[in-house]
Amino acid sequence: MVTVSDTLHRQRSSSLAVRLSRFRELGIVAFLVVVIAVATAIEPRFLQPFNVRSILLWIPLLAVIAMGEMMVIITRGIDVSVGSILGFAGIVVGMIFRDYPDFNIYLGTLLGILLGAMLGAINGALISWARVPPIITTLGTLSAYRGLVFIVSGGRQIDPNHVPTALIRWSQRGPFGIQWIPWVVVTALAIAALTYFFLRYTRSGRDVYAIGGNPEAAKLRGVPVERTIFLVYVITGAMAGLAGILYASRFGFVNPGETGVGFELTVIAAVVIGGTNVFGGSGTVLGVVLGCLLLGTINVALAVLGIAATWQLAVYGLVILLAVTVDAIIQRELRRATTGE
């Protein structure tokens, strides 16, 4: 089916697509500026340090998981179980902190990451080797893992007095005594940087894009497709596990029926707003980080402007729909421009 002229068109369109994807990130920045401008116009105190800090505090949880979810979507998959993995890691590590108050918090964080990786590995094994479609696997484990959270915790919340103060301090203090860039934000940005290098400079990272671009071709070229897909879900699980600890640090409690519920939608929104193609094959770290920043800003703006929390879900849905539709229109125009239809 693929002819030479087809391939030529695709090469031309890919260089155009690169230009447009740069433009796409500028688009997010522009949208961000508009949101901030509108919010500031209505409420002049919008950009005071307290609110900026709230916006920045939105990033860690979101960006950390979004890095994994972005890779999953690039490989043409989806992971809707991240919210439940977040809750599971949060509750288990929280229970350990409750029952052993002297437990080392770094060890606890590591444990959370490992627990998340384990649950992610179950997803990954089912998807890559047992060939259960990603949406079915993770829709199933979304419920299964959430049920586990209730079973393990007996439905009991981890109260604020049981979360170590040293852990909570991660969300309050920053490096070099800078108050408004807390450690959790620094951690998230470090993970974003690591993801950037992983995707750009390692073999497995390049394989992620190759699989998303064309799975059959990737396989024929000797890319270890199954192993890479497995790896991507393990990473996403591990990141969701880390986010469980960051949640405990940020909010100071873990609740089985609340922590991480519905968070998969927020994460997917951030990834899709960041310009990651829902058909797979393309997506950038910078775009997704900007997507997280935009979502955080919208959320804080809604709160500051006194728009009730009841609007949140509708706004997410609308923003996802808008991002996906705008991308589809861009792609269609691109195809039209290159094929001359």
Binding site: I136, S143, G147, L313, I320
Partner: protein, 346 residues
């Protein structure tokens, strides 16, 4: 018993034709619904052993009403999934239609009869929007319905807030009309069969006939098997897809109204997470998640399996949250088993 195989898999039907008994027997064994029927019997036996109350027929029948909405959504989802698409927004559509009905009746004073018609139209419109975004924007159904899953439930939340219709603060006299509420307490005269169950079975039969005996049904299978090929052989693929998404919205809307009647209240968090149960019912019934294969009979059997499982776990005092783990695992295992048997057969 040859429903469902008519236009789906050429290999299976050619297998079914030849050499008498053994060939026919093999074809029967190859039917994916068989596993579901077996599981249904197992669940029945296990339930009966677990609790003496389980085999109480009126009790079991009345229990089907508690999740009849899942069954009604699964009827529509059978079409959607056979066509190779997915709809994650079904439970959110249900909630939004329920809230629209509540707002129309209480806040705007629309008579109940007109409210019902307008609510069903809303459901169809929401489904049509999904279908149009999928066909006109050439977007994957997964991405579209994931967005509308948030959007529709979010809109329901905006509409009624965290409150309900009738509002908690209102006097007890302000309620839905008597003839509308309590549909689950209405039975076929002289039998313990509740009305919602009758509605579900009637819908399953009507939609089953459409799926298995009409051109539209064949087109749905054709699109799910190979959309490109279907388009080149003259199937109006876009119109068929828009139509089945619209019907899906209509069915979700109907489910929403039944839920409001059953609970006599409309809330934005009605049926939260029930898209999982509906998809599980369809997939458990042997419908291929990649499209092109499946039957309405399988969906109906799987729905009863789910209901009996939930009932069994209920009488065995297993908490609702823990039941989640069982249902989620069941969904994954169902596909896992069908994948493995597929590979084994090859």
């Amino acid at each position: 018993m040859t429903i469902g195989e008519t236009s789906s898999l050429p290999e299976t039907s050619s297998q079914a034709k030849p050499v008498g008994m053994s060939g026919r027997f093999k074809a029967l064994l190859a039917r994916p619904e068989l596993v579901t029927v077996g599981l249904l019997m197992l669940a029945f036996i296990a339930g009966a052993l677990l609790s003496p109350y389980f085999l109480d027929v009126p009790f079991l029948l009345s229990y089907t009403s508690l999740s009849i909405e899942v069954g009604i959504m699964a009827v529509g989802l059978t079409f959607i999934i056979i066509s190779g698409n997915i709809d994650l927004s079904v439970a959110s559509t249900l909630a939004l239609v329920a809230c629209v009905a509540g707002v129309l009746y209480f806040d705007l004073g629309v008579p109940m009869g007109i409210t019902l018609v307008l609510s069903l139209c809303t459901g169809a419109a929401l489904g049509w929007l999904n279908g149009t975004l999928v066909t006109k924007m050439k977007l994957p159904a997964l991405a579209v319905t994931l967005a509308t899953m948030a959007l529709y439930r979010g809109a329901a939340n905006v509409l009624v807030g965290d409150d309900s219709r009738p509002k908690l603060a209102w006097s007890r006299d302000i309620v839905f009309p008597d003839w509308f509420v309590g549909i689950n307490r209405v039975c076929i005269p002289g039998t313990p069969i509740p009305l919602p169950l009758v509605i579900f079975l009637a819908l399953a039969i009507i939609f089953g006939i459409v799926l298995h005996k009409t051109t539209l049904g064949r087109w749905v299978y054709a699109i799910g098997t190979n959309e490109e090929a279907a388009r080149y052989s003259g199937v109006p693929t876009e119109r068929v897809k828009t139509l089945i998404f619209t019907l899906m919205g209509l069915l979700s809307g109907l489910a929403g109204l039944i839920m409001v009647s059953r609970l006599s209240v409309a809330r934005y968090d009605h049926a939260r997470g029930w898209e999982l149960d509906a998809i599980t019912a369809v997939v458990l019934g042997g419908t291929d998640i990649n499209g092109g294969r499946g039957s309405m009979f399988g969906t109906v059997v799987a729905f009863f399996l789910l209901v009996f499982l939930r009932t069994g776990m209920g009488v065995a005092n297993i908490k609702a949250e823990s039941q989640l783990t069982a249902i989620g695992t069941l969904l994954v295992v169902a596909i896992l088993v069908s994948n493995l048997t597929e590979r084994f057969r090859k």
